[in-house]
């Protein structure tokens, strides 16, 4: 019995310690940010996180759009409402699927890479030697990656949405024979710029902060050995995916629920 209570206490202390440490790291990163000399590093990170994630984002977007359109058509055709296919595809992508699926893929593709990279730096003591040379690793290693992650995810989400809507068009109009004009005009009638497109972008900015924050924290505070790196990488993907899903629900309640 006492062991259980002790376990609860240990868990709570661990939780508080982790939260505190990660918030401290975020704080130092944000306030060590503006440094024009580090701009090339930042560009390099956008390349690593954004462009190298593009293949999986494009493929996933195309197929999710096609599947959504196919399933939507099968249901809507029963009610002779297949003209609203465009608005169904666009609204579900812009509001929910686009930001969330892109964020999950980003966590798997880029978040895990970030954790592994920084974890290896930490365990081969590159970060410690940077500190020895009076170079702040938070400024030089963490800050460019953090900023790049926040900027990259919304851009990826926008590309994902466009590709998926085009995939929906491909199946709905060219295969199933929904009228092409109706696909676009019903979509334009029911999608609004600020509440739908922009709320999706806001969501993906929040997800970008969560994912890169979790990934960088897990890499920075890695157990310095092979098991530690693998555990941290797994933890990044699991924790950031769960955080994305939870934050998505909360944001949806605030944006569309009231």
């Amino acid at each position: 019995m006492l062991d259980y209570i002790g376990a609860v206490g240990r868990l709570s202390l661990y939780f508080i310690k982790t939260t505190g440490k990660s918030c401290l790291m975020l704080f130092h990163t944000i306030f060590g940010m503006p440094h024009p000399k580090l701009f090339p590093l930042f560009i390099g990170q956008i390349f690593q996180l954004g462009i190298l994630s593009l293949p999986i984002i494009l493929t996933a977007g195309l197929f999710i759009g096609m599947v959504l359109s196919l399933q939507g058509y099968n249901v809507l055709v029963d009610y002779a409402a297949e003209e609203s296919l465009g608005s169904m595809v666009a609204l579900s992508l812009l509001r929910e699927l686009g930001p969330v699926v892109t964020a999950l893929l980003f966590a798997g593709r880029a978040g895990s890479a970030l954790t592994a990279e920084i974890g290896l730096m930490q365990s081969t003591e590159q970060i410690a030697s940077m500190e020895m040379m009076a170079v702040s690793p938070l400024k030089r290693v963490i800050a460019p990656r953090f900023l790049a992650g926040i900027i990259t995810l919304p851009l990826l989400t926008l590309i994902f949405n466009v590709v998926a809507i085009w995939g929906g068009y491909l199946i709905g109009v060219t295969w199933m024979g929904v009228d092409g004009g109706a696909y676009w005009s019903v979509m334009q009638g029911s999608v609004d710029y600020l509440p739908d497109v922009m709320n999706g972008v806001i969501k993906s900015i929040v997800f970008g902060v969560m994912i890169t924050w979790v990934a960088l924290y897990n890499g920075y505070h890695v157990m310095p050995n092979a098991v530690g790196i693998s555990r941290s990488t797994t933890q990044t993907v699991v924790v950031s995916s769960l955080l994305v899903l939870a934050m998505d629900f909360i944001l949806t309640v605030f944006m569309f629920g009231m």
């Binding site: 390099g44 956008i46 812009l94 851009l155 590309i159 466009v162 979509m187 334009q188 999608v191």
Partner: protein, 156 residues
């Protein structure tokens, strides 16, 4: 890979994302810079506005010629007053015109239907701040059913 090449790729990526945003804004959300031009204000009071909302369209023969700007209640007569923003490029209407609250389809949104009146000597056009005198309220389905049942019972 050289820094130049990386910068080039990042440029392509950012431009691609911006183009996507433009497609989402203009092609998917149907945003347009044109706007609806200048407008002038007219008033109409109904005894019942039903499900009319702010930004509901005013239509003349199916063409949108204005929008509902505000719905308020006149404190003296207890009648709802609807403020309409009419588009200037569609011109002005004679004061004999009538407005009615209609429903698009059986379950659709409610809108205001405008029926232009005749133009004759001594009949002015409605200017900014003018008021439609001839108005027909929204049809409330429950009232209609009530009247129907009443008329059936009377027939017995």
């Amino acid at each position: 890979m050289s820094q130049k090449k990386i910068e080039l790729w990042v440029g392509v990526f950012v431009i691609g994302a911006m183009i996507s945003l433009a497609i989402l804004a203009f092609n998917v959300a149907g945003l347009s810079f044109k706007g609806e031009g200048r407008s002038y204000t007219l008033y109409a009071s109904f005894s019942n506005v039903g499900g009319l909302k702010v930004r509901s369209p005013v239509k003349l023969g199916g063409v949108v010629v204005g929008r509902v700007e505000n719905i308020s209640l006149d404190k003296d007569s207890y009648m709802p007053i609807v403020r309409l923003a009419m588009f200037e490029n569609n011109g002005y209407y004679p004061e004999t015109s009538s407005v009615a609250i209609l429903t698009s389809g059986l379950l659709g949104e409610q809108y205001i239907g405008l029926q232009p009146g005749f133009i004759d000597e001594g009949i002015n056009m409605l200017k900014d701040g003018g008021r439609f005198e001839d108005t027909k309220s929204a049809i409330v389905l429950e009232d209609l059913i009530g009247q129907f049942i009443y008329s059936i019972n009377k027939g017995d």
